[in-house]
């Protein structure tokens, strides 16, 4: 094989290491390198290979897109497995929305975990934004219902809904999310306008399984890649994009309110291949 391919075998090895250590996964890594081999001339250099690889990976990602919100108050539902950064991402987005002149409402619909409501409420206080939540043990669907009423009566928009972390493998918890979505749709047609799945950039292949189940259950409209200030390269994003064309809308890059930015496929690619 080394004689038939343009690059040296140690250079192919280097590329393989680059992809695998970036959590692209063995299947997509093998496929990408096969496509790359097919795309190269006999005299191709490592530089050309990297340029082609960049194009191959870029073609897997959907076009950059932001939030698609119409008819206020627009509800955005934040979901994901435990500890990925949902609550913090809501706070960050709310902060940037307020900077843009919007009047977001923070909704504490995680009525399960210890101090979850307090956590989002403290963020709201810190940011000077309105918050609604219920007692721990309350029905999250009831919180959501009240939140839409509050938003309509006070002219708040968008409505950012925090939910409890949950494993996608726990059926009744996924059913609970379906119910929250149904309640939103009944309260106001077309809601939620966005269902954002928050993924931890430190994750490996399990992020793909998470995306599959949350998407099949709810219809995910976009991803948030949190904790991308970690050296982890989040290569699973390529598999998720290839299989379900889910756009990453935002990237979290730290724990402060301003540490969020719109996703750029080109910037993400640069970082992935660096």
């Amino acid at each position: 094989i080394a004689r038939r391919t343009p690059l040296s075998s140690s250079q192919w090895e280097e590329l393989q290491v680059l992809l695998l250590e970036g959590d692209l996964g063995p299947e997509l890594a093998e496929q990408s390198l096969e496509n790359l081999k097919a795309s190269l001339e006999r005299d191709a250099t490592l530089e050309m290979a990297l340029a082609n690889l960049r194009a191959i990976l870029l073609s897997l990602l959907p076009a950059d897109e932001g939030l698609r919100l119409v008819n206020p108050p627009a509800a955005i539902l934040f979901v994901g497995v435990n500890g990925t950064g949902k609550t913090t991402s809501i706070a960050k987005l709310a902060h940037s929305m307020r900077e843009q002149g919007r009047r977001p409402l923070l909704v504490g619909a995680d009525t399960f975990r210890a101090a979850a409501g307090e956590q989002l409420q403290q963020w709201a206080t810190r940011l000077g934004l309105p918050f609604i939540g219920h007692e721990i043990g309350g029905d999250p669907s009831a919180v959501v219902f009240d939140a839409m009423e509050m938003a309509a009566s006070r002219g708040l928009d968008p409505v950012l809904i925090d939910t409890a972390g949950r494993q996608h493998t726990t059926h009744n918890l996924m059913e609970e999310l379906k119910k929250i979505k149904r309640v939103l749709g009944k309260k106001k047609a077309g809601e939620p306008q966005e269902v954002l799945l928050v993924l931890d950039a430190n994750a490996g292949m399990n992020a793909i399984a998470q995306a599959q189940v949350f998407h099949e259950t709810l219809g995910v409209t976009g991803l948030i890649l949190a904790k991308f200030d970690s050296p982890a390269r989040a290569g699973f994003l390529f598999s998720i994009a290839r299989q379900w064309q889910l756009p990453t809308k935002f990237v979290g890059v730290g724990e402060k309110a301003e540490n969020i930015r719109p996703f750029s496929a080109v910037e993400f690619l640069d970082q992935f291949l660096s």
Binding site: G25, G83, D200, S230
Partner: protein
Amino acid sequence: NLSQRFQDIIKKLTGKGKLSVEDVDAALKEVRIALLAADVHLSAVKAFSQNVREKAVAREILESLTPGQQVVKVVRDELTEMLGPGTGGITVSSYPNSLMLVGLQGSGKTTTCAKLARIFKKKGKSVLLVGLDLKRPAALDQLKYLAKQEGIPCFAEQGAGAQATTQKAQEYFRAHHFDLAILDTAGRLHTDSDLMAEVKAVQDTFRPAESILVLDATTGHVALSVAEEFKRWLDYDSIILTKMDGDARGGAALSCRYVTAKPIRYFGIGEKTDDLEPFYAERLASRILG
């Protein structure tokens, strides 16, 4: 699907009467793919594959009556050994003492502190939960809530700096003659030297019996550098692998074992305070192999 590929290779191997070195190498390629799909770091995969190959191409394996089964056994045994020691749990040899939990953001430290506190309370020890996450909104509220739920005292004060709070916590721990302090620390990136230095200072103050790296079972390749850096700064003593109630294969645990050889104590298997299970190497080996 990858685990099906691996199952097919196993079937082929165990069905064969005679095995060549080529057969073993073909099987090992599938094992490597399975391990990568399970989030084991590439370096650990290569080392593991090399260890297994040396054992698997031995004459007595290839010429045995059931060489295929022998090779599969070598793979399982080698993985179990690399993940070992075999069983978990934490033993504190003398009191008063402390345990310190550290790790990346959101890995499950605060919840695991409460789980461990429950275990030691059941053993008859007087436990003090100590909240040292002064940054995350409502982190102290979270620990206080869990402590109250378990009927365990909690030191959780906001308002002073990290160093002053650590000192105050230790004074409180000593003054009230508790057996065991369980220290909850803020999540941090292994690449943040200020925060790593901060948690090193906590370790220097309390000198805990165990500094425990709390690692999310979904962690990917970054687990290797996490293990290396936490070892470099703290020389942590052990690992707890959380969120094993999901379907993450947990290969990150092997990556950590490969670079630091620190024992894994427990699996976190849920959000409740009794959702902690002693580590079993064989169980994790089966899960990683898929």
